[in-house]
Each structure stands twice: as structure tokens, then as C-alpha cells.
Symmetry: C2
Subunit: 253 residues, 2 copies
Amino acid sequence: MLTKEELEKHWTQASEIYLNHVSIDCVVFGFHEGQMKVLMLKSNNEKAWYLPGGFVRNEEPIDDAANRILKERTGIDKIFLRQFHVFGDPDRTKFHKETYKDMLPKEHNFFAQRFISIGYYALVDFMNVTPTPDAFSEICTWRDLNDLPEFQLDHEHIFRTALDTLRLQLNYQPIGYNLMPREFTMPELQKLYETILDKKLDRRNFQRRILGFGILNKLEQTRKGGAHKAPYLYSFNLQNYQAALREGLQGGW
Amino acid sequence: MLTKEELEKHWTQASEIYLNHVSIDCVVFGFHEGQMKVLMLKSNNEKAWYLPGGFVRNEEPIDDAANRILKERTGIDKIFLRQFHVFGDPDRTKFHKETYKDMLPKEHNFFAQRFISIGYYALVDFMNVTPTPDAFSEICTWRDLNDLPEFQLDHEHIFRTALDTLRLQLNYQPIGYNLMPREFTMPELQKLYETILDKKLDRRNFQRRILGFGILNKLEQTRKGGAHKAPYLYSFNLQNYQAALREGLQGGW
């Protein structure tokens, strides 16, 4: 845990290093075998939960900043973060303005200003990454979507907007290439969709629709070992999957 | 045209009124009867063409700022502007940094700093709006997409990204409610798509696909007065249109 002096030093230096008024917050969703989680930090000082966020260096491209921030704050590197929305309500950081306003002289009080935050999101397999807290955080961990803590600032709104974006994306873009094993059954893929949407889907409708998009190859082999009739295995047809990422699941006009 | 003194006064005051480092640029597409245009300004001072843009007031929500900026700079009001991307390359405003760096003392030189720009876009009927230049502009006008001037800064990149966003949107969202007359023929609707995509579409495929989305009502009447067989008229089915805006043209899962 940082001392008051260390924190003061940090925020005084921050105004030299970072752009005023611009922040980045990252919503990293984790999926594995029917479980859906989101990456969160518990702050040292306030004992409140945040999405991992930070600031943009004076000469740094914003996409680089998003990746650096996620790495510094959670130890997680090399994942594809995508911009999804800018959060620009003037009162969104009111809590910080009030909490930290007397900590430093106004001209150096980087933390107590208005921030417009650029939201980035990603969806990863949470078994492939190990979150590590930074010096400002007591805990950095995956929180189950069915058991979320209270969020600080407008971070619940940022999280919900990212989740809505991800769910809408299921309607027009393929998903799952980095989340499914190379070969998978139809029920396994259906489980991914059901988990993100948080609802049950009809088995036949799901199969008909997902096959209609042409993004799957049906393999010769079946999955061995179960008590029931062995289910067919599928893999993604990468060429069609990539085209659908660019043009949408129905193809272009 | 503003004098050097007036410009200096403006940029000195700007640092009191606006947030540092954050700007907004608007890409307003105009469509009418097979023509596609984009709203642009020609600057007084540099004789260069820009998208209409501006800055965020200290306590102003960013969506309000986008609408105020568009109104101040072009006279255009009450159109639905939608965020589409943030442009955060540190060199994107290099030209302004270099051109204006000696105009004012560094601490008041609002215009010569790095700006991260939030892009907003809209698609309107250009016959319904009359652009009016502000004090910084010599011309404010609709420029045909087939006859574009050279853009200043990264405004061509912002424009192209907005156009890509609009074209991609055609693959998964309905479009045209604010652009078509209340009753229209299938060739008229096809022309809208062809104009945005800048390519010819097959008549039968277009009709089959667009009808498949369930967003159109076929009317009893036909269009009278032509030399050929009178074509059927259609109108949008607003309930299905709104649902498709929320869930995508194929519906949700």
C-alpha cells in the first residue's frame, strides 16, 4: 500500500507525464466453459472496485496507451482491445474531484480534474491470463458476472455499455475463435452464446442459424467417450470467419 | 475574416472556456436523389478544407458539445449525431502545432496543443438543411463525394472512417427512414444503397434481401404517371425498423 506522501508525489508527477482530461478504461471479459467474468481492481485507498484504467502519455497513441495501461495495472498483455464508446459526462468523476480536491494545490492536482474516458473492451479465455495487482490495488481479479461488487465512479455504466456492445456484436459478427478449442461440438459453441447473452437458446434454431452463416467446417470425426451418441465436431472456417468480421455475418451488399 | 488580433484573443480565451486536449469532429453525410455529399468548411486563414469541428466546454457533456459545435460552425441544428471513433494519433494535429506555435505564449496557446478528437457522424437529406459559415470560415458547403477537395490535418482519415462505418452499418442496421419520402419505390430505395456503397446492385437480389428483413410494408397503390408499368410503392414498417435498429437486421439470438 502506498503512503500519502507517495500518492502525492505520484499525482504531482502525473500532470507532467499525462494529458489532462483524457482517461482510458478497459472492460476485459473472460469466458471459459460456460462462465463469464470481468476483470476488476480493488483500490488500496478507498476499498472500492474499479475497471482497470489510466491515462495517456503526452506523446502516446491512444491504442498503445490502452495496452500499456492494462499491462501496468493487471499484468495482462497482448490481447486485442477495441474502442467501443467515449464516456463524457462532466459529473462522471465527481467522486474523485471531491475526495481528492484538498490533497494537492489545484494546478498540480491531476486526479481531481474532469476526465473524458475512452472505453476499450476485449473478450478472452480467462484460463490463459493471470491478473496481478499494481501498487494502487489490493486485489486484481476476475469477478463473475453473476456476483459483481459495487463499482466506483461510472464504471458500472461503462461495464454495462461494453456488455451491450458485445451482445449486439453477436447479431452481426462471428465470435469465439480465441475462446473455443480448435475442434468443438455444437453444444459447446451454443454455450458460449448462451453465456454472453445470459439466456437459453433453442438447440435447433441455434444450429440452423449458425450453420447458415457459413463460418463453420463440419469435421469427419465425432467426439468420443460420452455415454450418449457421439456429437459431431466442428472447427471455424477461418477464411469465411475473417470475411464475416469485415462484412457482417450476412455478407456485404 | 478575423484579424490576427481577434484570432489571438480567441485562442487566449479558449484555454479558459474549453478542456485541453479534447476536440470533436463531425462527419455529416448528405443524401438526396442519388447524390451523396459531405459537409465541409473552408478556413478563412489557411484556405484549407476541414470537417466542422471544435472543442468541449469545461462543464459540457460531449454529446451536447457535438451538437453545439455543428450548430455554431455550420448553422445546422437538431440532427442525430452518433459517436463512431476516437482519433488519438499524437501527430494528427502536427500542422496546427507548427503553424500556430509562435502565435501566443505557450501557456495560452490552446490551438497548438495535441488534441484527441472524438468523431461523430450523421446522415441527412441535404435538401432539408442550409449550411452557413461561421466567422472562421469563408465557405460552408456540401461537397460531392465524387469531387472532394484536399482535407487539412487527418480529416480525410476521419471522413473515410465514418464512410466505412456507414457502409458497414448497411450490413446489419436499417437505414433511410429520414432520407426517403413516406412512400417510395424499390428502385428509389435501391438507389440509396447504391449511392452510399458507390456501386451497382443486382435488382432481384436487392429486392429479395431487403424484403427478407421485414422492415418494409408493400402498399396497395402503385406509382402513377410513368411510361412503364407503374411500380409498387413501399413504406417502412416502423415497429420492425426500430427493432432492427436495436437488434440488427437478422433479429437477436
